[in-house]
C-alpha cells in the first residue's frame, strides 16, 4: 500500500507494482516539460493520474467560482493534453513506456454535468486508438477518463481517494 497527499486530497494505491509521485522535485525538467501527478505501474500497464481540485476548501471561497469556471475553457483541456504528452515522452526516454498507458483525471467537483464536457474534450485531444494509414504497432494511449471523487472511488476501489478536510 502506498499513500500520497496532494494538497487537500489523499490517495491510496493498493495492489500495484510501483507507485510514484511524478511531478515532485526529482522530475528535474519541470522548466520545459509538464507532468502528471502520479505514475503507477501495474503488471500489465501504466496509469498516468492527474488531480484537479477546484473545490479545495483551502482555496479562498472568492476564488473557487473562478476555479470552477476555468474548467469550462480550452486552456484546462490543453493543460491535461500536454501533461499527458510530456509525461509519456519522459517515460519513453526513461525506457519505461513498455506497456499500455491509460490516463485518468480526477476533478474533485460534485457537479457531474460539467465533467461530461471535459471527458469529451480529453477523448478528442488524445490519440486514442491508431491511425489507419500509419504503421503504428501500438496506441500511445489506450484509455482515458475524467471522474469526480465519488465516481473515482466506484471505478477504482483499489485506489481510494478522500478529502482531508
Amino acid at each position: 500500500m502506498t499513500l500520497f497527499t496532494e494538497d487537500n486530497l489523499q490517495i491510496t494505491f493498493n495492489n500495484v507494482t510501483h507507485a510514484r509521485k511524478f511531478d515532485d522535485s526529482e522530475h528535474g525538467l519541470s522548466h520545459c516539460m509538464k507532468a502528471v501527478d502520479f505514475v503507477i505501474e501495474l503488471p500489465d500497464r501504466y496509469l498516468f493520474i492527474e488531480f484537479k481540485d477546484p473545490e479545495n476548501p483551502d482555496i479562498p471561497i472568492q476564488y473557487r467560482a473562478a476555479a470552477i469556471q476555468n474548467l469550462n475553457n480550452s486552456e484546462f483541456d490543453e493543460d491535461l493534453k500536454h501533461k499527458f504528452r510530456d509525461t509519456f515522452l519522459y517515460e519513453w526516454a526513461s525506457g519505461c513506456a513498455d506497456k499500455p498507458v491509460e490516463y485518468f483525471v480526477l476533478v474533485a467537483l460534485e457537479d457531474r454535468p460539467l465533467l461530461s464536457r471535459r471527458l469529451e474534450a480529453l477523448e478528442l485531444n488524445l490519440p486514442l486508438g491508431m491511425p489507419a494509414s500509419a504503421a503504428w504497432t501500438r496506441p500511445i494511449v489506450h484509455r482515458c477518463g475524467v471522474f469526480n471523487i465519488t465516481d473515482w472511488n466506484t471505478t477504482f476501489p483499489d485506489y481510494p481517494v478522500r478529502r482531508l478536510s
Binding site: 467560482a65 470552477i68 469556471q69 460534485e110 457537479d111 457531474r112 454535468p113 460539467l114 465533467l115 461530461s116 471527458l119 469529451e120 477523448e123 484509455r143 482515458c144 477518463g145 471522474f147 465516481d151 471505478t155 477504482f156
Partner: protein, 356 residues
Amino acid sequence: MTASGEPLTYLGSQQTAWGINMALTKAKFENFTAFKDLEVEFSPGINALIGENGTGKTHLMKACYAACDLVKTERSLAYKMVEVFLPSGRQGGRLVHRGGEETEASAEIHIDDWYARCTFHGPNERTVITPVDLPKPSLASVYIPVKEMLANAPGFLSLYAAREIHFEEVYRDMLHSAYLPPLREPIDDAHGRMLGSLEEVIGGKVTVSGEEFFLTNEQGDLEFTLLAEGWRKLGLLWLLIRNGTLRDGSVLFWDEPEANLNPKMFKTVMQVLLELQRAGVQVFFATHDYVMLKELDLQMTEYDGVAFHSLYRDKETDEITCHTTSRYLDIRPNPIGEAFDQLYDRQIERSMRGLV
C-alpha cells in the same frame, strides 16, 4: 418552511439603495390546477423554478402574476386568474384540481403582510377575499411567456380589445408594457450596463414605429419578423428595462428564458437577471436548462437572494410538492442534473469499456 423542513432565511423584503421594497413572500394552493396542497416561500431576489413537465411551474408563476397585477387594478383576483389561465368557457370551476373528490379550489398569494385569496367552486363562481385593513401594495409586474409576441404585435391589442380571441391575458399585458415609451429621466449606471450588455448581444437598440418593433443600429432598421426569435426575447427585455417597467420594486416573471436562445447567450441573460435583482427587481423564472441554472450558480454571490424551487410529484402521495434551497447543489430532486448524469454515466461506461 419548505417541503424538506429546511428553514429559509430570507427577510421577505429586499433592501436596496432606495429603501425597502415589497415582494411576493408566499403562495398557498389547495386543489388549485396542478396542486392538491402546496405552499411555497419566495426569495425577494431571484426565484428559479425547476421541475419536469406538468409539475406546475407556469401555473405557480401565473397565479403570482395575477396577484401582482391585481394590486394595480380594481378587479378581483379570481377574475384575473381566469383571464390569465383562460379555462374553457372562462369557467373558474375548471381550475379545481382534477382527479379528486374536491369541488373547491383556493389560491392565496402573500405580498409582505398583505395577501389576496380567491376560491373557485361550481361552474362559474368566483370569490375574492382580501384583508381590508391594509392598503394594496404597489407592485408593478410583467410576465414574459414562452411564446414570442413582439413580431406579431401590430394590431394585436386592438384585436384583443374588440374580439374574443383565445390568448391568455399575459400576452396583452406584456404588449402593453412593451409599448410604453422610454422614461424621460436619465438611465442610471446599473440599468445602463444591462442595456449595454443586451445591445452587444442583439446588435442594436429596439425602436417602435406605429405598432411595429425594429432592431435599430448603424445599418438601419430591421423589422422583428426578420430577426432571430431568441433576439426578439432579449429585445423585449431591453425595452422593459429602458421604459422603466423593470424598475426598483417591480416583479419579473419569465417562463423558460432559454427558449430559442443559443446557450452561449445565457451568460448575458443571467448577468442581466442578477443585475435586475440587485437593482430591486424580484425575479421568477422557470427553466428546463442546465446551462441557465449553472450560470446562476456560478454568477450569484453570497449577497444575492437566490432560491431554487424544485417542483416534483411526491412518490407516496402522487401530488405536486416543492423543495426550496438557496444552493444549486442542494436542489432535490434535480431533473435537469439527473438527465446530464445519465448521459455522463453512459459516457464513462463507453470510455472504460472492458476495464480493469
